[in-house]
């Protein structure tokens, strides 16, 4: 298991050092600094073996987190734990920075003591942790016996992510369907690969221990119901069920630990008791019938050795009534660029020498529209033999729909012990499609 955990600043100074196992000595701290942080080369592997000691490292802004072991640990678990550690710290004191870590080092030690025992990760749900570890020190001395046992049963219990006795005057929930659409297109407009990775993020402000059931236009479910003839009419368009695709094929999905996986496996129904506040209910991935919101058509012409002509057309491909926002097209330029002239029909375009790119920004653009930019790039003559690698043209945008076609059909809430019903809960659904890695080669 994990033998020790160190946090360093970018200079390699130790900010936090917690050793769990005897086989990890103080020299391990230095070994990592010398071999990884101070190494001249960029990181070639996130797992580094130095003198039979393995270092798992992740970097958050300028901060290095390293888990150290001499055993054959579960590597995936160690990384998941490091990410979780980052989440927990962020939930307690915000951004992970040297200053924040120094300001909270006592708290971090306390957390490390709680969530990692002898190198074995323990309950690391912030919801549960915050009931007894706070920035202001430990609460427990003020607690009654009942409160104490409630804490321990929650930390160890089946529903470790939610405490009992939550009350809201207004029961409300927010569902955000956040998708990032990824594309790699050839210069000729052929889709080389495209997929949507989506997340359903839920913010719940519900009283008691509500039992929830979530439904979407999953092809497998719809097809099954269609055959059985028991279409759930009531649920079908309960929540913003606008028209569009009937159902979508989901390649794969993963769920927050609150979801009963065995039930999903057998019935494909998503039922759970949600954590309080914001959390990620599910992640999914689709590859079929993706609506690609934009098409990029590049045209690059080399005029002699000292000039490039670039023309890029973008076309929006969605309902004209919808508006895309925060559109940004990034056209890479060669390293020996000396000057750039740009003309664009819409938005603003600028050559950014420090980023080796022309950045073209458009605030808003409606569906089924087209826009164009053309640029002349002057090059310095070089005797560099190596050709310019022509990195792909990338795009950023945000659209108010789900490019995968996913629709939320219902989210039902049952809380038999308290006197509110599904109808009393105020529900909000929002769809946001963003660009992931959206690239067109040129």
């Amino acid at each position: 298991m994990i033998g020790g955990l160190f946090i360093y600043n970018h200079k390699g100074e130790v900010l936090i050092s917690r050793v769990y196992r005897d086989d990890i000595g103080r020299n391990a701290v230095d070994a990592f600094r010398v071999n990884v942080i101070h190494a001249r080369q960029q990181v070639r592997s996130p797992v580094t073996n130095i003198a039979r000691t393995s270092f798992f490292h992740v970097k958050r802004s300028n901060i290095w987190l390293a888990a150290v072991t001499k055993q054959n640990v579960n590597a995936a678990m160690v990384f998941e734990f490091l990410y979780k550690m980052c989440d927990v710290m962020t939930a307690y004191f915000g951004k992970i920075s040297e200053e924040n870590i120094k300001n909270n080092f006592v708290l971090i030690y306390e957390l490390l003591d709680e969530i990692l025992d002898f190198g074995y990760p323990q309950n690391s749900e912030t919801g549960a942790l915050k009931t007894f570890i706070t920035q202001q020190g430990i609460k427990s001395q003020l607690q009654t016996k009942e409160e104490q046992s409630q804490i321990t049963s929650q930390v160890t219990g089946q529903i470790g992510w939610r405490r009992e006795g939550i009350k809201y005057r207004r029961n409300e929930l927010f569902l955000d369907v956040l998708e990032s659409v990824n594309l790699l297109m050839s210069p000729q407009g052929q889709v080389l690969s495209a997929h949507v990775s989506g997340r359903v993020v839920m913010k719940s402000y519900l009283s008691g221990m509500p039992e929830c059931k979530f439904g979407m236009n999953d092809k497998i479910v719809i097809d099954k119901q269609g055959k059985g003839g028991t279409t759930d009419e009531a649920g079908k368009s309960e929540l913003g069920g606008s028209s569009g695709k009937q159902s979508i094929a989901i390649d794969d999905c993963t769920f927050h630990q609150c979801v009963r996986l065995s039930k999903f496996d057998s019935e494909r129904s998503i039922s759970f008791i949600p954590p309080d506040g914001e959390y990620e209910l599910m992640r999914y991935r689709t590859t079929k019938d993706i609506i690609l919101p934009f098409r990029v058509i590049p045209l690059v012409r080399e005029v002699g050795r000292t000039k490039l002509e670039v023309k890029v057309v973008i076309k929006s491909n969605f309902k004209p009534s919808l508006l895309a926002q925060k559109i940004e097209v990034r056209i890479p330029t060669p390293l020996n660029t000396s000057g750039v002239q740009v003309i664009c029909m819409k938005g603003k375009a600028k050559y950014k020498a420090s980023e080796n790119a022309i950045v073209w920004k458009i605030k808003r653009m409606a569906g089924m529209k087209e826009s164009q930019i053309s640029a002349e790039i002057e090059l310095l003559p070089t005797n560099d033999k190596k050709k310019w690698a022509r990195p792909p043209i990338s795009m950023n945008f945000e659209v108010p729909f789900a490019p995968s076609g996913l629709k939320v059909r219902y989210l039902k809430v049952f809380e038999p012990k308290l006197n509110y019903s599904d109808h009393d809960v105020i529900k909000w659904v929002r769809y946001i499609g963003r660009s992931g890695i959206y690239e067109t080669r040129c």
Partner: protein, 969 residues
């Protein structure tokens, strides 16, 4: 969504704490000041001081001098202060064990506290204080905590048992904690179950035979139930534990798989990978025609692909594992090529791994896409990545025949870019393509020759020279090209020198008239001016071949080359199976078994996949089985006259082979250095860069060869410690010598029968041989050579058969052996492959020597050292054996064994049992410790029990064989 983090930030700013100030104190006299503050009456001041101490500790300052003062702060009601003091204690208790006792009382008291959080904190911290004296006091509180009413305390206590076991294993066993821990598997709280499983798994790793986890269908059922309820981490512990279970039959296997598959949808990648591990392992047991088997295969693909949308570090872990899965079961991901396409922003480690998997998945169906991608990659920035991409194009050409042409033209395009490393890499792979498709793409040679001057890497130069030599007849100025290389012959690397030598000989054989001078020049450069034995040896062989029988030389040097294999870098199947059992762990990331990187013995026992139920089809994935080096193949008793052995033998005093050149084993590895010319070259090439081959005089060669080289041992990586050379020679007598057995029957050796045995006399190993001539004609010119073997046995001198052997005559010869020969691990370990030559032919056989041959005379260990070593060797390295029906008493046995250099270090009598503690040292310096138990009271119980402990446990079995042999004779 940002509101949450903003909220937190605000809270952070608003809070009173600015702990960073504790990091800034660096002035002198600091310790003294801290001491005063720690002893202050004010609580706040105390707390501040402890914080300062902890901050100093963190940055690596030694604050152990403050131990008593800090411990004094421990008795407090302030939990925060208490936790800080505990943290300090955990760090420094070991350096101040006596003072640590001061803390015990507080711990014991805290374990009785009404607050479960405090009880748990006390037991958790106490386990982390690794001081022997404290452990005694820990037992009682721990016992109570294991049965605490609060699950939080129980789950903490469960882990504490593992901590205590790590400090004092015996104590844990004596106190019966293991049983209590086992009971916790049935606990009502899932987290307690998970932690108990984790603790038991860890403890079980150091007792491989203890059956501690006792996995049976009932416990498995309990675990599967807890799996649905516990935290994500608990699920990982349970799944990792489940993976060690072997179901009784395919039905049980299927039902477990059915209950594990829902985990594939978990958001935590580690849960998913551990579930994949269980499924991959249990799938082995399912019949392939079962519907469920197909369903399962389909279910595995999507979650594996989803892992690639995780953070880059996890992607890397996932990709390393997918690499294994693709090799084991290519069908799972065969349609998922696209997800492995490299993204521009992927970190380099992700890019390189993706590329690897792309090549493995390349097939006729997707090759066009793959090639288009690879071509893109070849223009990227990172040099390693570009090289690998270029190499990948070559691999595609070799793997998918239909694409070869396109690959070649892509490579030519890349050569046109004139980017130095791209050109060099392309030339290396084009050479491979020539090998795979002879006489097809030679038209590109002209283009290649244009780039001759820009090649500065040995591999590329060697490849280019190979091409020139191989196609000398089609290159008009081949002689000029090669001659130009010859000018700087001595500055070239060995690889290039060898290649140049071979290429010029080839050229000479093809165009003898114009190149005589050139070949003379290279032969004399290689044999007279070089101090590299490989080069010299090869030079002499060519020289001899060319001067005695040019026709034979042609047959050898220009022989048809074996095809190269399609797949490279495949993991050897047994290792692959073992790694599949380690999916998700570091072993799967390193692609090495745990024993290769874990110190001591913890968790290094080899895991194996379960066997399939019903008809055992072992030819599971035929495409994987090939292309594995011959090392792993168990050699037959009589080796057919081919293979590596001949390569070694060619350095012997042999006349040039006159008849058929033996085929080279098809398992040649691509990318190795052995891409030389003819059959002979490849055989010799096998040694390039490795151990110098043994050279014994070569008749006719112009200069005397170094005779009887005790060649420097080639110590192979992983085998390093096992086969380290060392060894001493002493004097003894009376070791048991087994009778001679027939090793080579006359039928298989054209009338020569060889029988023999091994003996150790006066510290020297002898091979006693009897040669019998059962043929009709006289035999002369005997010579012998050994193949590389596990302990580096090699003839210490030439074989002395002085007179010709007439028909029906037998001659006995004793050949002294040394243990300084080249080392290669054999299977079985004590196998020895021998080649004997006479005037008629070369014959091959293999025999096994008793390992007692290697027991050296100074193998008696000091008692104290013995005790320490015995403790030091992890108990999973201990092997138990029984020697049945042996009627010796302990003294007789001891004497007998001593004759064979098994020394009794100590003797102990307990009740009716004599225990002999014995030590043995091998020639390569490995120690073996043994305990031999002999019943004395009961004349009817004549079985002896033997436990052998050794750092190289694979030797144990052979030691046991020796005991059997010695005690029975």
């Amino acid at each position: 969504m940002e509101w949450a983090s903003q909220l937190c930030e605000n809270r952070g700013l608003g809070s009173k704490m600015t702990d960073s100030k504790y990091f800034t104190t660096t002035k002198k006299g600091e310790i003294f000041e801290l001491k005063a503050e720690l002893n202050s009456d004010k609580k706040e001041k105390k707390k501040e001081a402890v914080k300062k101490v902890i901050a100093s500790m963190t940055v690596g300052k030694d604050v152990s001098a403050l131990f008593p003062d800090v411990v004094n702060c421990m008795q407090t009601d302030n939990l925060e202060l208490k936790k800080l003091v505990y943290l300090y204690l955990m760090n420094y208790a070991k350096s101040q064990p006596d003072m640590a006792i001061m803390a015990v009382n507080t711990f014991v008291k805290d374990c009785e506290d009404p607050n479960p959080l405090i009880r748990a904190l006390a037991v958790r911290t106490m386990g982390c204080i690794r001081v022997d004296k404290i452990t005694e006091y820990l037992c009682e509180p721990l016992r109570k905590c294991l049965k605490d009413e609060d699950p939080y305390v129980r789950k903490t206590a469960a882990v504490c048992v593992a901590k205590l076991h790590d400090i004092n294993a015996q104590l844990v066993e004596d106190q019966g904690f293991l049983d209590t821990l086992k009971d916790l598997i049935s606990d009502s709280n899932p987290m307690v179950v998970a932690n108990a499983v984790a603790a038991l798994s860890e403890i079980a790793e150091s007792h491989p035979n203890s059956n501690l986890l006792d996995l049976n269908p009932q416990t498995i059922n309990k675990l599967l139930t807890a799996l649905n309820e516990c935290t994500e981490w608990g699920q990982i512990f349970i799944l990792d534990c489940l993976a060690n279970y072997t179901p009784r039959d395919d039905r049980e296997s299927q039902s477990i798989c059915e209950r594990v598959t829902p985990r594939l949808s978990h958001a935590n990648s580690a849960v998913v990978l551990s579930a994949v591990k269980v499924l991959m392992k249990f799938m082995e047991m399912l019949p392939k025609d079962l519907d469920y088997y197909g369903t399962l295969l389909k279910k595995l693909a999507p979650p594996l692909v989803t892992l690639l949308s995780a953070e880059p570090e996890l992607q890397y872990v996932a990709l390393r594992n997918i690499n294994l899965i693709v090799q084991k079961r290519p069908e799972i991901l065969k349609h998922e090529m696209k997800v492995f396409f490299v993204k521009y922003n992927d970190p380099i480690y992700v890019k390189l791994e993706k590329l690897d998997i792309m090549i493995r998945l390349a097939s006729q169906a997707n090759i066009a896409q793959v090639l288009a991608e690879l071509k893109e990659y070849a223009t990227e920035v990172d040099v390693d990545f570009v090289r690998k991409a270029v190499r990948a194009i070559g691999r595609c050409a070799i793997k998918v025949e239909q694409s070869a042409e396109r690959c070649v033209s892509t490579l030519l395009d890349l050569i046109q870019t004139k980017v130095n490393y791209v050109v060099q890499e392309a030339i290396v792979v084009i050479k491979d393509i020539f090998r795979k498709y002879p006489n097809k793409y030679e038209s590109v040679i002209a283009t290649l020759c244009e780039n001759l001057d820009s090649l500065d890497e040995p591999e590329a130069r060697a490849a280019m020279i190979w091409i020139v030599g191989e196609y000398a007849e089609r290159i008009d100025n081949a002689d000029e090209l090669l001659e130009s290389f010859l000018e700087g012959f001595h500055d070239e690397s060995t690889q290039v020198q060898l290649q140049l030598l071979t290429a010029i000989v080839k050229l000479f054989l093809k165009k003898p008239t114009e190149t005589q001078e050139l070949v003379q020049q290279v032969l004399s450069l290689a044999t007279q001016d070089s101090d590299n034995p490989d080069l010299r040896d090869r030079g002499y062989i060519y020289w001899r071949l060319l001067s005695t029988d040019p026709v034979a030389a042609k047959e050898v040097v220009l022989a048809e080359k074996p095809l190269i294999s399609e797949e490279t870098d495949l993991i050897e199947p047994t290792l692959l199976d073992e790694l599949i059992c380690h999916i998700g762990t570091l072993a799967s990331v390193y692609h090495k078994p745990p024993s290769a990187f874990v110190e001591g013995g913890r968790g290094v026992q080899h895991k194996r996949l379960p066997a399939r139920a019903g008809s055992g089809e072992s030819a599971e994935s035929p495409d994987v089985g090939q292309a594995v080096s011959a090392v792993s193949d168990a050699p037959p008793a009589v080796i057919p006259s081919q293979g590596d052995l001949l390569g070694d033998l060619l350095n012997l005093d042999l006349a040039p082979p006159t008849s058929n050149v033996p085929p080279v084993p098809s398992s040649m590895q691509m990318g190795a250095m052995d891409l030389l010319g003819g059959g002979l070259d490849s055989l010799l090439g096998g040694d390039v860069g490795g151990s110098p081959a043994m050279g014994v005089s070569l008749g006719g060669a112009p200069v005397g060869m170094p005779a009887g080289l005790g060649a420097a041992p080639a110590v192979g990586g992983g085998l390093g410690d096992l086969f380290d050379l060392g060894g001493g020679v002493g004097v003894t007598a009376g070791s048991y010598i087994p009778p001679k057995t027939v090793w080579l029957p006359a039928m298989k050796a054209k009338g020569l029968e060889i029988s023999g045995t091994f003996a150790r006399r006066s510290g020297v190993i002898h091979m006693d041989l009897s040669f019998t001539n059962k043929a009709m004609s006289v035999m002369t010119d005997f010579a012998i050579q050994f193949n590389k073997n596990s302990f580096g046995l090699a003839p210490a001198g030439p074989l002395q058969v002085l007179t010709p052997l007439s028909p029906n005559q037998t001659v006995d010869v004793s050949l002294p052996l040394s243990t300084t020969g080249p080392v290669m691990k054999m299977e079985p370990l004590n196998n020895l492959q021998v080649a004997v030559k006479n005037n008629i032919d070369v014959f091959y056989f293999s025999c096994q020597y008793p390992i007692s041959l290697l027991f050296v005379e100074d193998g008696k260990m000091d008692r104290q050292v013995f005790l320490a070593t015995w403790k030091d060797i992890p108990s999973e390295n201990e092997a138990q054996f029984q020697i049945k029906d042996c009627h010796l008493n302990s003294d007789a046995a001891s004497n007998k064994l001593q004759g064979s250099n098994i020394f009794t270090v100590a003797k102990r009598t307990v009740d009716t049992q004599d225990m002999l503690y014995q030590s043995v040292k091998l020639t390569n310096g490995i120690w073996m410790l043994a305990e031999l138990r002999i019943q004395t009271g009961n004349p009817n119980s004549t079985d002896l029990e033997l436990s052998v402990k050794c750092r190289a446990p694979e030797v144990s079995q052979y030691v046991y064989q020796c005991y059997e042999l010695i005690l029975r004779n």
